[in-house]
Each structure stands twice: as C-alpha cells, then as structure tokens.
Symmetry: D2
C-alpha cells in the first residue's frame, strides 16, 4: 500500500511533466478543472479525510486551502464556486507542488506507524480518488487544448486508438438469474456493493467497439437531421448546440480530422469511436436497429470480450443497488448523491490509471457529456 | 367505443364549464398550457391521426391549425413554440368549440361506418390521449390560478384529499421472480408491453400515502437546510429556486395554507401530501431512513393497498422494457423518445379521468416537476 | 377639464370595442402589457394619486388592486412582476370595466366640488398619463397580434401611412443661440421645463420622413451585413436576434408584406417607414452619409415641416435639462428615473391620442426598441 | 517619436515584471482580458495597421495570431470570442515576449527609414493605443486578484490614493458660449476633434473629489435601499447583483477593507473614492442634492482644479461632436461605433500612463461598469 500510494502520487506529477506552466491554469468551461486544481484537490483529500483526523497534532498546511480545493463535500465546509477554479493564479504551481510534497510525506509518516484499518481504508480510497483525477487531467487538458485554435499537442507519443484487429461477432447469453456486484477481497466503491441477483432475458452483445467509419456512415445518412432517431431532449440538445459530429472531430478543407492527445490528426477510420454523448450512442444504436446493453448485461458478458479502451455507455440509469448503504460522514457524499439523471458507463478508458477499474466498476455521467473517452458497444 | 368517445369529448368541455372566458388563455410558464390549447390539441390529434388518413375526402378544418395545435410530433410538421401557446387570443374559445364539434361529429360518422380495426385502435389511443389532457387541464389551471394573488377558486366542491382513515402498516413481499408489464385484452400504451420477468429481493411497502403532517415534521427538522438528505442536483435546485415547502403551500401570517382546486385553505394536516418533486420525495424517504419503491415493487404490491389519489414517485428511471417496440410513424413519438432523465410514477391522481389508469400504467416526469398531483409511498 | 377627463376615459374603452374578450389578456413579452392591464392601471393611477388623497372618506375599491396595477412607482408599494401581468385572468374584463366606472364617477364627483389647484393639476397629469397608455394599447396589440400566425386584424379601417405627397426638401438653419423647452401656459411634463439657451451650429433638416422604399434600398445594398454602418452594440443586437428588416415586415413567397393595424398587407413602398430601432435609424443615416437631428435641432426646426405620423428618433440621449427639478413624491418617479441609456424621440405617432403631444414633448425609449411607431427624419 | 515608441513598449513589459507566470492568463469575466493578451494585442495592432501595410516585404509573424489577438476590428477579420481569451495557454508568455521583440524591432527599422507622415501618425495612434492597454492591465489584474480569496498583492509600493489635503471649495462659472474640443498641434483622438461652441448656464464645480468617508455616510444613510435616489435601471442593477458598496470594498469582521494594488487594506476614510459605477455616482449626487458636471462644464472648469487621480464620471452621454468624422478604414472602428449607451468620463486615473490624457480627452464606459479607477466630482 505504501508503494501504491507513492506511485500514485508520483504518477499525477509525471502526467504533468509535458505541460507549460500556463497550461496548468486552464478552465474553459465549468465542468473542466485546471490541472493545478486537480493536483491540489487530490492532496486536500488526503489532508482533510486522513491527516486532520488521524495524524497526531497535524496542522492544516494553509488555512484557506480547504476553501480553495474542496470540490463538492458539503460536510467539509464552504468552497469556491466550481467555475472560479481557473481564476486562481495563486497559489502558484510551484507552491502546489510544495503542498503535495508536504502532504505526501505526512501520509508516508502516518502509514509507517499506522495499525488502524480505518486509516488504511481511507488511504486506499484516497489513492483511487487520485486515480480518477489522473484520468480527468487527461480529459480536461484535451478539452482545453481543443479550445485553442493552435491545437497544442499534449504528448506526441500518446496512442488513443489501438483496437485488436478482429471481426465483430455476436456473443450469446441465455436468460436466467445472474449475480451482480462486487465480489472478492480488494477495493471497490460503495456503489458496487450489495451483490445481488438480477433476472436477464436472452441477449447478444458484440465483442468489438464501434469504429469511426461506422459513425461516419450514420452521419452521412443524415442521422443528425432525423428526429426519429433521437430522444426528445437529445433532439433539443443537438439543435440548440448545433452538434453534428463527435466532440473532437473537425472538418478542415472538406476533410474530417480528429483532435487527440497527440495533436490534430486526419480521422483514422478504423479507430475506435470516442467522445460521444449517451444521446449520440443511443441514436446510433437506434439507427442500427440495435440497442445499448444494460449495465447488468455488460457485467455478465465482459469476460467474453476485451475491454479497456473506452468507457462504454449503457442503457442503465445510475441507481442504487438493492441494500445500497452510503458510507457515513462526508465520504457518503462520494457516490450516492449523484444517483439521479445520470447513466452508467462500464469498462475503462485508454486514459484510466492502472489498477483502477474492474468488472463491477460503475462510472456515471450525465447523458449529454462527452469530454470523457466514451464509446459504444452494441447489444440486441 | 362510440359512447366512450362521446363521453370523453363531453367531459373535457364539462371540466371547463366553471371557467371565465379569460381563464382559457393562461400560460404562466412554458410547461403549462392554456385550457383552450388542450381543447384544440386533443381535437387536432383526432383530426390528423384519424380523419386525415381514414375519413374519405376529409378536408382540414383550417390550414393553420396543425401549426397551432401540434404539440411535439416531428413527423406531423412544424409547430408553434411551446411557450407561445398562451399568446394566441385567436382562434377564440368559441371558435375552438366549433372546431371540436366538427371533429367530434366527423369521428362519429367515421365510427358508424367503420370496420377497420386500425381506426378503432387509433380512436382508442385518441380517447386516452384526451383523458391525459383532461388531467393536465386541472393541473395547469391549478398552477395558473396559484400565480394570481387573488387565488381564484376552480371549483369550490372539488375534494383533493380523502384518505381512508386507517393505520399505516407494512406489507411484506418475498424475494423471487415476478412478472411485470401489461397482461390482458384491453387498452394499454406501448411502454407497458413486453411482459417479462424481474427478480426482486425481499421488500416491505406501506399501505398508506405520506400525509402533510409528516412532511411538516421533515420541514421543521430543517430538512431543506441539510445537504446530506438530498441528491446533489436536488440540493442545487432547492437553493437556486429558494424552495422550502411543497409547491402550493403558502405561509400567511405565520400559518401554513395550501392552494387547492377549491381555493386557498388552511393546511389540512391529515391530508395526503401532494405536489412534491421526486427530489423532495427522495429526501423525505432518506430522512425517514427508508426509500421509495421501485416501479416493479409497486406493480407487484399494488393489489394489497388502495391507490388512486396521487401519482406515486418511484425510484425507477423511465427506461424501455426488454423487447420494447416503438409504434411506427408519428405515434411512435408518443412515449419512447422520453425514455431518458425521467422518473416513473405509478398509480393515478384524484384528477385522473375515469377508466384511464391501471396497475401496469407508467407515468413519467422529470424529477424536479411538481405541478402534478404527486405523492409518496414508502418502502424498505 | 371635466369634459376632457370624461372624453379620455371613454376613448380608452372605445379603442377596445373591436377586441374579442380573449384579446384583452395578451402579454407575449415582458415589455408588452395586456389591454385589460392598461385599462386598470390608468384607473389605479387616478385612484391612488387623487382619490385616496383628496376624496373625502374614499375607500380603495379592492385591497389587492394596488398590488396588481401599480406599474413602477416604488413609493406606492410592492407590485406584481411586470412579466406576470398576462397571467391574471381575474379580475375579469367586465370586473375591470366596473372598476373603471367606479373611479371615473368618483373623480367626476370630486371635480364638481373641487377648488384645489393641486387636484386639478393631478387630474391633468392623469389624463395625459391615460393618453400615453391609449397609444400603448395600440402598440401592444399590434405586437401581440403579430405573434399570432393567423395575423388578426385590429381594425380594418385603420390607416397608418398617409404622407402628404410632396418632394423632400432640405430646410436650412443658421448657427446661433436658440431657446429650448416648454413655454406657455398649458400642460407639459417636468422633463420639458427649464427653458434654456442652446448653441447650435448650422444645420439642414429634411421636410419629409423616410419611406419604405428608401429603407428597402438600404436592405438590398446589404446594409444588415455591413458592420461599418452600425454601432458596436447594434451589430451584436442584429446578429444575436437575427434581425434583417423592420419589425413588422414579413417576406412571404418572396414578397415583402407588412403587418399593420388593418392586417397583413403587401408592403406599400411609398408608405412611411415605421417600427425601426434607433440602431437601424442611425445605420440608415450613416449609409446615406447623413445623420439624425439632435432633439434641439428638431425643436427649432419643427415649425417648418409637418410632423405627427411617427415618433422621430433623434441622436440626443435622454438627459435632464439644466435646472431640471423632479416632481416631489411618487410623481417624481414619472420621468426622471429613466434619464440614462435612452434616446429622445420627438413628434408623435399616428396612434398618439389627440391633444397629447406638442413641439417640446420629449418621448424616450431604449435604442433597441421598435414596437412603437418610430420613424426617421434626416439631417446634416 | 522613436524614443516614445521604445519607452512605451518597454513600460508595458515593466508593468508585468511583478507577475508570476500564471498571473498572465487570468480572465475571470468577459470584459477583463489576460495580461498576456494585452501584451500580444498591442503588438498585433502595430503589425496589422503599420507593418503589414508599410514595411516592405513584411511577413506576418504567425498566420493565426491575427485571429487570436484582434479585439473588435471587423475590417481586420474574424477573431476569437472575447470570453475565450483566457483559455489560451499557448502561445506561451515567453513566446509572446518574442513576438513583441520582433514587432518592436520591425517598427524601429521602419521608423528609421520612414518619411511618410501616415506611418508616423499611425505609430502615434499605436503608442496611445498601447498606453490605454497599460491602464487596462492594471485594472484587469486588480479585478482578477480580487476574485482570489488569497488577495494577491500586485505591488506593495503602489499608492492609489494621494489627495492633496485642502478644503473642498466651489468654483463659479458664468453663463455664456465656450469653445469645446481639442485645439493645438499634438495628438488627439478623432472623438475630440471638431472644436465647436457650446452655450453653458451658470454653474459651480468642486475643486476636490469625493472621499471614502463621504460615500460611507451615503451608505450608512441607507442609500442602497432608497429607490428614490436611483435611476430605474440602476435600482434593478443593484438589486439583481446585490450591490451595497463600491466594488473593492470588503466587510471583514465588521470592519470595512478595500482591496488595492498594494493588497487588502483597512479602508482609508480620507482616501479618494474609486471603483464606482455611473449609477452610484449619480445616486450619490442626488443624495447630496447636487449633480454631476457635464463633460463641457468639466472641460471649461478643469484649469481651476487638480485632476488626475480618478476618471471622473460626467452626466454627458458619449455622443459625436457636431461635424464628427470617423477615420476611414478599420481605424474608424476605434471610437465612433461606441457612441451609444455610454457615459463620458474626463480626467485620468492614477493608473493612466504618462503623457496620455489631456483636457479634451473623452473616455467612455457603460454606466454599470466599475472596474476602472472611476471617481466623482460634484457640480450644481
């Protein structure tokens, strides 16, 4: 655990090695946070959930940092409005690295002398929390760089797209009762617990994710102009926002390009489709006369295919499992309060940190969001 | 069927007998439609879905009425923006009654000589469609009158609240596989079809709806100020809108009143709670350390209790059943395109028209809406 | 005065004789008020500024009417939000006519026994106040009817356009000191008082208003696409709102039409241009390499030309004259508090009530508004 | 001129010496621009208005910089939306300094070999343009730092407040004809030209600016709660925004503080009032039963008092002088297109660059803006 903690803390900083100092500050929209904020917030998490409570005589590093770096924990007090995170040039990036160092060392000290399982459990949560933010650093920088007409390159070696080259095939499953939810000894979030039975009808699921060329056909068939393919609020959304392609696609001189972490590229037609909303995923499935899998079907089927390049939209709403119990205290705010109006995504993305996801992992976003690396797997 | 059609058409007009002419025009918010619009839209529905297609040589009553009275059917062409419905003083109310008479008589003629099951099926849909709007006329007028500082009375004899006077008791159900969805020969909507099996855990459900006094205790316990009880977006919603009580509650000179269809009344503490959002229903359940039932639990349990005074919020998201098939053509827009970001309500309300609801009926609203007669039944 | 009072009260009601009952309620946008509100508000004005103060033992007609019918007088207490005026179906139109009758008779009684010059002065203000609202009833109904795809006719005999058929000629004025402001014994508003000297340069002004054909040439020259003709905020305004013609112009099957009080008509090319904003007036003048007159030039020149069909935009901002004194009490809110960010209009419109305007009259609107009968006279 | 050019270019960079690298990027609101954008935009101005046209064989430094650094010149092509200026981490600050160096050197080369008066005239405009942005860098950084709960210090030695310590006295002026507008040989903007006669009534003006203590009395008298003191739209503005003090005043533990370029300070009661809107300036004058001077009174009177610490709001609207001629081409967009809905300010501020203002200088802002160093001088 000590090593995993240290590795995780280092990896966050390693991701940012390629940045210019000014890049750390970008927040072009409310739901995108600056890289420096992510570095500080993950540090704050360890400070207030662990050090303040369990490290003897621990003093807050700075009295105003909790106000600056709390995200949404009501029980942890007032905080800066989310859309103001990008307005903070101070503390400077170098100051935030000092803050990180101080808290990392304090946790290491605590761990060395610790025999409390609660401390260990919380550090484990903190590690996974930081891994989630590592993924967000990638997504947020991609979003921010895409706003810049110069299209800066994050890392010219980053490969978003590899898909094993095999034929898409349907995998069949029989109707019956299946067990759903986390089983085993390792770490999981509270929203995966309460393993329980679910009755599923017969279903088939594809062993391959949708590719760019398939989505291009959907576009070329006029799908963005055909109201019958779309949910009513999806139709309003594409028309109000003028949406007619996946998020990072740009038509330049009549040719489709895609902005990626390795820069602006010609669209790779065999590449895996990414950065679409649930609305678009569902309209695409409708156009194919197919559907998205439920999260239960996905969990049952996942052993039979490779996953891990894209978060995969499911038809399932993000709801509590039977017997769901929120954690007590502020950690209870981690998951439960988001269980309305969001969709479950399963799997993980090319930007997800190592050892973070698992078959029972439940990610969730609002159906219009598409700045994450989200893709589509079809079912029927 | 002929008689049911005639009765339904008459009942819509009967509801409006108590109105002043000016009352027909009110649209204080976008989601509320004027009574005259409801009267015309339900008529348009019969005209374009039935007469235009099946009545020989039928001519549209007026070439611009489809533009004025289409609600959301993309396949039926352009239409006036929803929030402009209240800006139409013409056609006048008396002209709309003439339009109704013309279409009603044309349908009667058609029905008398009809032997097409498709015509019959569509008229049945049209009848149920009009019944839904009869309920909306009540809800929309209540909303509109509540905006008027004079608090006009809709009908001084209308009784919203009767609840049989019995003790709330928990009813128990065993875990197992249950059948869900419409079974039988009568009418139902497409979203109830595809009867299928669902596995349910053990659960208990109350035989009684929540009353005003119980919700008052929730309020007096500071629940609207306690973020831990609320979904994150519910918390934002109550704070942005300044919400601190059910929709039609007014504190006047220190005393709670409730605006009802029979006018402004002192709050009846034993009355059945009404006009709360899903957000408030869920927070209330959380405060009780209980939960809302799922729509499946409700359907399984409903034989064992009385229902019919309030639409009952469930925890379930409004999603397609397995094997759900949208109707073809514009009627396919009736239900399916709303299957995202809404919650299922079961039962029916004191304002629901006779012979309209049934145990498998799936009503649905966005979780913040509360201008319908929505209430709460608890489960655990 | 008694007769003028009675005539004015009658004329308001006469204007409304052509309306359907539902027409009285229309408020399609916040700045447009329902006809029934105008009828009630002008009545409220007499009630609270005169009867309440000067009529012995006068009792308010209804305790909530001041809340419903106060427009913007902070000293007269709380009032309904402006954009909610259209949500009030009650009091009914017939009830408002009763209210009018009651207040009219009470004022007549008061006037018959009155020897207070203050009462007389206030009734005079009330008369002119009601005349302003008579014009607004026309403008607001035109706006409201134009929102209806059926284009209802207000009065088929109403003639908006007569312009004496003469050649436009420049009238010359010498530089020098001129006297500006009201002089004489009759009624005027406080904003015209404080007659004072102004130094004017040489100027020329046209004896004729701009016609539709001239504005059509401006449009056909691409003026709405040429940023150099527009103020910066005008440019933003036309682009955000998609404005490319005067307000009531409609292109139908390739031909320009104009919606008028006598219904939808083919554009009369010789007709007087109307319903344009200051922004458009200024851009038009710029396109002609001319300019709008100042309000001082207009006042000096007005004897030499006919005016009275359109309110004429001037370049002048609506500012207090030197030595301007606001009336005391709530009547001081009549004019002074609007003296920022508005433009002065001079003259009067075809809808202005008889005996209302005069050469020193200062009308004022925000520069983007165009639902009044506003036109253009050019100067250089 | 060469030396003035070099000095001006250096001074912009000198202002920024105190910044952290991250500070250059801040744009907390649309009307505030990042320091790095100011540095680049002033450079772009020299590049496209001078080098591109007059320097032989000049090549644009970077093909996309015009898109990034044009502010509002429609004739100079498309540009990034104003509120996106803060989203550009690239080009980096160091890259922008290189861009500055390149353009500065190119202008120096051009100037050395130049004998065109047009080039000289344009460089002079460019110099004054850059001086305006030097002031904006101060104002924008003050605004941005004030958004940060840590209240960063711009420069601990910056003194905003000195006011010579003398008694406020009224200076009298006789009615008569005065000459207004720029006279002389030096530089001025087009909006000051067209020297012309204006007739002024008798007036008196104070030789001293309003101080913080005076405004505090206004506040303590409940002025922000008294609608009679405010323009109607000012009253809406203070209530919508919750405004109850000048912009940078903060009440901390019951004591008023002021955020300044030298950091958060206790309010200096003798300090010169700053950062108020026109709305507040006018309400304050109304409360004193005085008024603001017109811009003509100010220009006539300015010889008799000291000015130069604050931009002084006048009652005058920003309108063209008689015979105003816009410059041709894109430079004509510099001033004229803003001549509606803005108020004239006269004088200059403590942050205005040396040799920039003059007695005939006409600054202008919308009446609600207050992030500039604006103050009040009273007249009657």
């Amino acid at each position: 655990m000590l090593q995993e903690f240290i590795n995780t803390r280092q990896y966050s900083e390693q991701i940012c090695q390629v940045l210019d100092l000014e890049d750390y500050l970008l927040q072009p929209e409310e739901h995108v946070s600056p890289a420096k904020w992510h570095l500080a917030h993950t540090t704050w998490f360890f400070e207030v959930f662990i050090l303040e409570k369990y490290a003897k005589d621990y003093q807050l590093y700075h009295p105003k940092y909790p106000f600056l770096f709390n995200s949404y924990y009501e029980l942890k007090g007032e905080r800066i409005q989310r859309n103001h995170r990008g307005n903070l040039s101070r503390p400077s990036v170098s100051e935030i690295y000092k803050y990180r160092k101080h808290v990392t060392e304090s946790i290491v000290d605590l761990l060395k002398n610790n025999d409390s399982p609660e401390v260990e459990k919380r550090i484990e949560i903190g590690i996974h929390h930081e891994k989630q933010h590592q993924e967000l650093i990638h997504s947020d920088l991609k979003f921010s760089f895409n706003e810049n007409p110069l299209f800066p390159v994050f890392d010219s070696n980053f490969n978003e797209d590899d898909q094993e080259d095999f034929i898409g095939e349907w995998i069949n499953f029989e109707e019956g009762i299946y067990d759903i939810g986390f089983a085993g000894d390792g770490f999981c979030y509270d929203n995966e617990l309460g393993r329980h039975k679910v009755f599923l009808q017969d279903f088939k699921i594809l062993n391959k994710l949708v590719t760019n060329i398939e989505f291009l056909e959907f576009m070329q068939d006029g799908a963005y102009k055909n109201p019958l393919l779309w949910h009513a609020e999806a139709w309003d959304w594409i028309n109000e926002k003028g949406i007619n392609s996946p998020k990072y696609w740009h038509q330049i001189d009549g040719e489709w390009h895609e902005f990626k972490l390795n820069g602006l590229q010609k669209l790779d037609k065999e590449g895996i489709l990414s950065h679409i909303s649930f609305y678009e995923a569902a309209a695409f499935a409708q156009w194919k006369n197919l559907r998205l899998p439920t999260e239960f079907e996905w969990e049952v089927a996942q052993e039979k295919f490779n996953w891990g390049k894209r978060w995969e939209w499911t038809e399932s709403a993000y709801l509590p499992y039977p017997n769901y119990q929120k954690a007590s205290g502020a950690l209870g705010e981690y998951n439960g309060k988001f269980m309305v109006n969001q969709k479950v995504l399963r799997g993980c993305a090319v930007t997800t940190s190592p050892n973070h996801s698992r078959p029972s992992y439940r990610n969730f976003f609002h159906p219009h969001l598409r700045w994450q690396f989200c893709g589509v797997r079809l079912a029927k």
